[in-house]
């Protein structure tokens, strides 16, 4: 094989590899997204959230980190809102989940603004004292 052919093969291989990695990143993101949004059992979702920092930091996983972080934050804020307003979730579990989600957000995001906004806009006690 001549040198030019070898160079062609090499460049094609790199293109192919990049395409695989890109696809892999998309596939990984979709897997994460499906996992987070299609789980209906809260305790399983809690476990998934806890594993996300390690998943995003892993060298073996190719994923668009920014997209994954944004999705995670949105999912966690929704999860927290549902948990804190639920009448069926025990209070100790509420506090525990709040702390866990904040810990995950602390590891994944520089400032978890979406979660903070969600917490501020939550209907904590029904309204102000007066007025």
């Amino acid at each position: 094989m001549e040198l030019r052919d070898r160079q062609n093969v090499r460049s094609n291989w790199l293109v192919f590899l990049n395409a695989i990695l890109e696809q892999s990143a998309k596939i990984n993101f979709h897997i994460l997204e499906w996992t987070v949004y299609d789980l209906y059992e809260d305790h399983k979702l809690e476990k998934v959230f806890e594993s996300i920092p390690g998943f995003l930091k892993s060298d073996k996983v190719t994923i668009d980190s920014d997209q994954a972080r944004l999705m995670t934050e949105n999912a966690m804020s929704q999860f927290l809102g549902n948990t804190l307003l639920s009448n069926s979730v025990p209070e100790s579990v509420k506090v525990c989940r709040l702390t866990k989600c904040l810990n995950v957000a602390h590891q994944v995001l520089p400032i978890p603004r979406v979660i903070f906004h969600k917490l501020v806009k939550l209907n904590w006690g029904g309204g102000p004292h007066s007025v």
Binding site: K121, W124, H129
Partner: protein, 414 residues
Amino acid sequence: MEGLILFEIGSSLRAWDEGSKGRFAPYIQGIIAVIIAKMRIPNALWAMLARNNLPTGVPNIVFQDYLTHGDSVLLANLVHFTCNANRFDPFSIAVVRLLSKFSIDVTLLEVQHDFCVMWNELVQEAQNSGEGSGNITILLLREIWQHYSTLHQDADAPPPEYLNTFGGLSGPLDNPSSYPPCGVHGHRLDPKHYAPNVPIAEAAWLLPPPPAPSSIPPFLRPDFVSPDIAPFSSPSVHPGDTVTQSADKPTIHSMPTPIIQSSYPPPPAMPQPYPNAITPSDSPENMLQATARCPTISSDLDHPTPVTISIYQLTSPPLADRATAAASLDPPMIRMVPLPPSPSLLPSSIAPTSSPPFPVPLLSGSNQAPSGQEILISSSTTAVPPIAHQSSFERDPMATSSAAKDGTPDKSSI
């Protein structure tokens, strides 16, 4: 949600914030402030949560006053958050909007005055930043405008050029110049007591009154000087004054030879950051002059509280042990020099039963060491072992200034 769970959530949020080293403190404070503002039934837990979210400097008695005066807690909550709010994050606006839903006309006057001070600062900040650039500050002003307007009805109304015929703002709401500053003299505190990011509790009106002078023990008063000795660094010494000492009192000139001498060579000359600073090679006269030249060399120099302590007090009872330990150092860091013999002035009944390895001067009946054997040290340094103190003195040239304060004579001149 009920009070208990809200209290637990607030407490866990605060604990989490402390665990993250206060990285998200403004956000967590805002969330807790909103929880406080939105709790429907104020109870003891609510009060505790609100108390903990205010600066720690707010005395309990003041907070109890808040509780009994309408929505004072909520107003304090709003003022405290807004003072520390991040001016670059829309989160602040969302929080202030939620915090400002209360009735301000049934709140304590003092907290209302805090509100006016905060208002004036926001107005100034918005006007300094100019139109369009200080968006969040202007939006904060817009959120609390109603409260300002309520407080300044009637006689306290803002200048008419700011108001339209309906009592609202005459200018556009996003224009900083539309917002009038509070011009009512009684509504403003001394600005030196109140600055941005300073908790409201540090305002002067919240501070407890200073204790009466009669309740302070004499030895704790700043102007206290032991009657036995003359102060070496009196705060009344001014540059150019001549320092004089009475003849019957021990002076720095009559100081004895240091009991402990270091075997270290003198430290190399170091550049002096302060031209008037005392150097290790200064003679006692120079040290005195330098002290007079620069009486404010440190804060505790202004109010020295010297006490007379004899060498016996400094070195006994573990003197023999320390001498042994010092001798066993390799290389010897500190060489112990025996004291000159001195007659015992104490009655034999209270004299030490076992004699130390070398003569040790004893305390006289009048709590004074024998003449020529006492040194002056600051009362705050009495707990420092003399050996370590001496060692650091030798190694740290800057320590000479403290030594001068203490009245310890300069070793290099001996």
